[in-house]
Symmetry: C2
Subunit: 288 residues, 2 copies
């Protein structure tokens, strides 16, 4: 039923949105032959127009000859993969994903394929879909994999090589550590940023809202960017890393409470001290 | 005691930080003669080196001949002005400020000067101080004034003319409406963004924190920008617009609660609906 694996540098990419599309453009530039799979005919047409892959198809059979397949699918699809997708993956191929939560992905996929590498190239933009992909999205960004005792080290080396060829900073960590770290720096920010946008909906005075709409600029734009982004992506994070995010949310509410109390009690010295601290904390997270 | 007002296009700027310095550079480019006042000798030296004003002095007497004076001072100094500053302002001059809260400023300064215009050019950057000013900070940004019944309309026209000459979008509103609008789009964001940075301090696992520091990128950078900014500026907002910010903070906490509850009860349909709404709300605030 299965062909032999192609000996050429061939990469299959499943899903041609922001991440899959960007990977397709970047790997072609590096001389790889990229085969792109999407289940939507309209996406296939647009992906061909944009040259996202050397070959774009809606037939999963194109994956059968791919020695490397990147599953650039939304978490919901990654966690409930279609059997025809699984069947089309060669047992000797190296399979990786790009999902933003790793524990549930690893749990499912390590049962499904012997050479699965759970990984997460960390780059984002406001946009989504087949028109969002750009060629240099990943350069200089982290690409983290979360191997465990059962991971095939040779397969891990293949994914590492691909990540480094794109100019990514390669890291590995336990899946649980990854999910906690991204809960803090990526998923919790979505929640607190979305709540700010929702707050504007709770204000009834149209005059104030209109003025606020006219005055909003870079500060509001920055603070609301991740909370006003792609709803499907936001939901997939909150849904699949729930307990960790809820734990950090409880710590966040405590932090907010300290600020609130210092304002109510007009303890400006404490508040100033807190703001001096946050001013010092931020650069420790954004060294690059 | 007072000289006559200069007939040339002369503008006095008090305070040569990000806003004052940027105004000094921009108005000189438009052909104005700019006289800059700072009480710090080191700032004066650096301001001269940078050419922030045609003349930089630590002696408030330079203001006596200025037909227009812009008080680019921190709110704390604006709300407790030195008497020698007030004495140096010509009674026929037009005086304006750049403070981010308008009700308390207007209340004090309308008693101090007959031609005071409470105003707020809305531009920001991460940096502060005499080295932060840049020449095109204000182009395309809102500049809002908050006149009341006692405001001299001729003085208002002078400030409007200056704002428009810099390419700002000129608006007027009641001081209270301004303070509510900026509480929503500027002050509340500082609070929720700072609380996110503070949350990282509440996590004890050094491994998770180190990983988070390595993975943090644009999403975390954007969401924490205003909360990790200049502590003095943040404090001045929170201290001088306290009741309005606390009111919006209570609405914010309600919003956060709705997200939290939907996660606890795994009501993913509600959460998706909420995220779709925030995705639609954001562009109504960021049309430009």
């Amino acid at each position: 039923m299965r062909n032999n694996l192609a000996t050429t540098k061939t990469i299959g990419i499943v899903g041609l949105g922001l991440i899959g599309g960007s990977l397709g453009l970047s790997f072609q530039k590096l001389g790889y032959r990229v085969l792109g799979l999407t289940h939507k005919p309209n996406t296939a047409i647009r992906a061909r127009e944009r040259g996202i892959a050397n070959l774009v198809s809606t037939d999963q059979k194109i994956l059968e000859e791919c020695p490397v397949v990147i599953l650039a699918l939304p978490l919901s699809q990654l966690l409930k993969p279609e059997s025809k997708l699984i069947d089309s993956l060669h047992p000797d191929a190296v399979i990786t994903d790009v999902g933003s939560v790793k524990t549930p992905v690893l749990k499912i996929w390590e049962q499904l394929h012997p050479n699965f590498i759970a990984s997460h190239p960390m780059a984002g933009k406001d946009l989504a879909g087949v028109d969002a992909g750009i060629d240099n999205l990943f350069h200089g960004k982290p690409w983290i994999a979360t191997p465990n005792k059962r991971t095939n080290p040779k397969a891990l080396e293949v994914v590492k090589g691909l990540a480094i060829s794109l100019g990514c900073n390669w890291l590995t960590a336990e899946a649980n550590a990854h999910d906690q770290a991204v809960a803090l720096i990526s998923h919790l920010p979505v929640l607190i940023s979305a709540a700010l946008l929702k707050t504007t909906n709770k204000i009834n005075e149209e005059e104030i809202l209109n003025l606020a709409r006219n005055l909003a600029s870079s500060g509001f734009a920055d603070t609301t960017r991740v909370g006003g982004g792609n709803p499907e992506l936001g939901l997939s994070m909150l849904k699949n890393n729930t307990s960790t995010i809820l734990h950090f949310l409880s710590l966040y509410k405590q932090s907010l409470e300290i600020f609130e109390k210092s304002m109510i009690s007009k303890d400006w010295e404490l508040l100033e001290e807190e703001l001096k601290q946050t001013n010092l904390i931020r650069p420790t997270f954004l060294k690059n």
